[in-house]
């Protein structure tokens, strides 16, 4: 239990996928203009990453390892992630009858990048690795959602601030992201085992 807790803290805060690994930067700069869209993107990513973690583990364990097809792992994982995104989008449209403009559109590249961040736990062998892979994917996407919401809040404040014209928009966003990354570097002192 303690091992799982430390792994989740490490995945969400210490090795944050955006601020420590430079993954998912497209949505980080593109969807964080408003808090609600950023939160929607975070929830959608959490769902897709968690579901695809379990599906990827099953594919890895029962298909790729069983038949010696390890060299097809990346291609197969992309297919699984894209399928999970499509399922989420179809389910969202059916349930709410109208799509959320940004959060409903899940770029598969971002999820594949986030998927790369948890390749090591997901690649574990044996049935006992399933909860570990699932929790690691869940914690990574929770860290992603946390940074997205924080950064969206900062950008909403920045939209009202007086900044030099040359720095308006993405440049001041990148500089604020730099400060946020410095703040998250403070979590590096946490020992996660």
């Amino acid at each position: 239990m303690k091992e799982f807790a430390l792994m989740m803290i490490g995945a969400a805060l210490v090795n944050n996928v955006i601020l420590a690994r430079f993954l998912g930067l497209c949505s980080f700069m593109g969807v964080t203009t408003r808090i609600d869209t950023a939160a929607g993107m975070g929830l959608a990513t959490t769902f897709v990453i968690t579901v695809s973690s379990m599906a990827d583990w099953a594919v890895q364990h029962y298909l790729l390892d069983a038949y010696g097809l390890g060299f097809l792992r990346t291609v197969t994982f992309i297919l699984v992630i894209a399928s999970a995104g499509a399922i989420h989008r179809a389910d969202h449209q059916e349930s709410f009858a109208q799509p959320v403009p940004d959060a409903g559109h899940l770029p598969a590249a971002d999820h594949h990048q986030l998927r790369r961040a948890r390749r090591r736990p997901a690649a574990g062998r044996g049935p006992h690795e399933l909860p570990r892979a699932t929790l690691f994917g869940f914690a990574s996407s929770v860290g992603y959602s946390l940074v997205m919401v924080i950064f969206a809040g900062l950008r909403e404040r920045l939209a009202l601030a007086q900044v030099p014209r040359l720095f308006a928009g993405p440049p001041i966003g990148f500089i604020v992201a730099s400060l946020l990354a410095m703040a998250f570097m403070g979590f590096s002192g946490i020992s996660t085992g």
């Binding site: 690994r21 430079f22 014209r165 040359l166 440049p171 410095m182």
Partner: protein, 262 residues
């Protein structure tokens, strides 16, 4: 588009590597093979880099600053300059306006006919189209063709452009520009000369002490290079004009006596 992406990534990587590690294309031979070993450069002494630049915050920071540099270059190429918004009194609300007297594409006919910089909208030197422009934007046509502020007719002080709503706004922007120029002069120029002076004797005398001595004499790179390379001492020895080097006085010899020196 791929080429632009490559250039942008190379620029970001170069800035981060130089400022963070002091090298450029370090270990490029591992990627491109032994012939590319010649492009591996060390531009700063070891252990002098800024650690933050090679960590994730440095990546975000350099990316944001390079976007600003790109915007600045685009404005320069388009012949525009950063100016105050019409009617604004806040120096930090900047906008872009055409630079009329420098770029022919944006120059109205006859707008810069007078070289003394006193042509104003609505005068007989301006065409009718220029006269219909807002009065607040006319102040920047007061600049001469070299972009300088004109002097007042009595030559006492530069005239306040009409684009600024108040004298305070004009003075604050003028002070800002002066501070930028002063900081560039006080920081970037000595830094560049120090780096140049520090790198010059590196090839001849690879000792770290000579490099540090040369960098200490940053404002005088050539003199510091000569000092670090030992040329003045050798010249003085050959010509017999070398002064005796001062030495610390011994415990039995008081300072200031003839025996305590040389």
């Amino acid at each position: 588009m791929g080429l632009g992406f490559t250039i942008a990534l190379t620029a970001i990587g170069a800035v981060r590597e130089i400022s963070g590690n002091g090298t450029l294309f370090a270990d490029a031979s591992l990627l491109l093979g032994p012939p590319s070993r010649s492009i591996e450069l060390r531009l700063l002494p070891a252990d002098t880099g800024v650690l933050m630049m090679i960590l994730p915050p440095g990546g975000f920071l350099v990316t944001g600053l390079l976007v600003v540099v790109k915007r600045l270059l685009d404005l320069r190429i388009a012949g525009k300059e950063i100016q105050m918004a019409p009617g604004s009194t806040r120096p930090d609300r900047l906008t872009t306006m055409p630079r009329p007297c420098r770029d022919r594409r944006h120059r109205p006919r006859g707008a810069c006919r007078r070289r003394d910089g006193l042509a104003r909208a609505g005068t007989d030197h301006e065409p009718a189209a220029a006269a219909r422009r807002p009065r607040v934007a006319a102040g920047y046509r007061d600049r001469d063709r070299h972009g300088r502020q004109p002097q007042s007719p009595d030559g006492a002080s530069p005239r306040q452009p009409a684009a600024f709503a108040s004298a305070n706004a004009w003075w604050s922007v003028s002070i800002d520009r002066a501070l930028i120029k002063a900081s560039l002069t006080a920081y970037a120029l000595p830094l560049a000369t120090a780096l140049t002076a520090g790198g010059s004797p590196k090839g001849r005398t690879p000792a770290t002490s000579s490099t540090m001595a040369a960098m200490a004499g940053g404002p005088w790179p050539s003199a510091s290079w000569l000092r670090a390379s030992g040329a003045p001492a050798g010249l003085a020895r050959r010509t017999g004009t070398a002064l005796p080097a001062p030495r610390r006085a011994g415990p039995s010899k008081p300072c200031g006596t003839k025996e305590s020196v040389a």
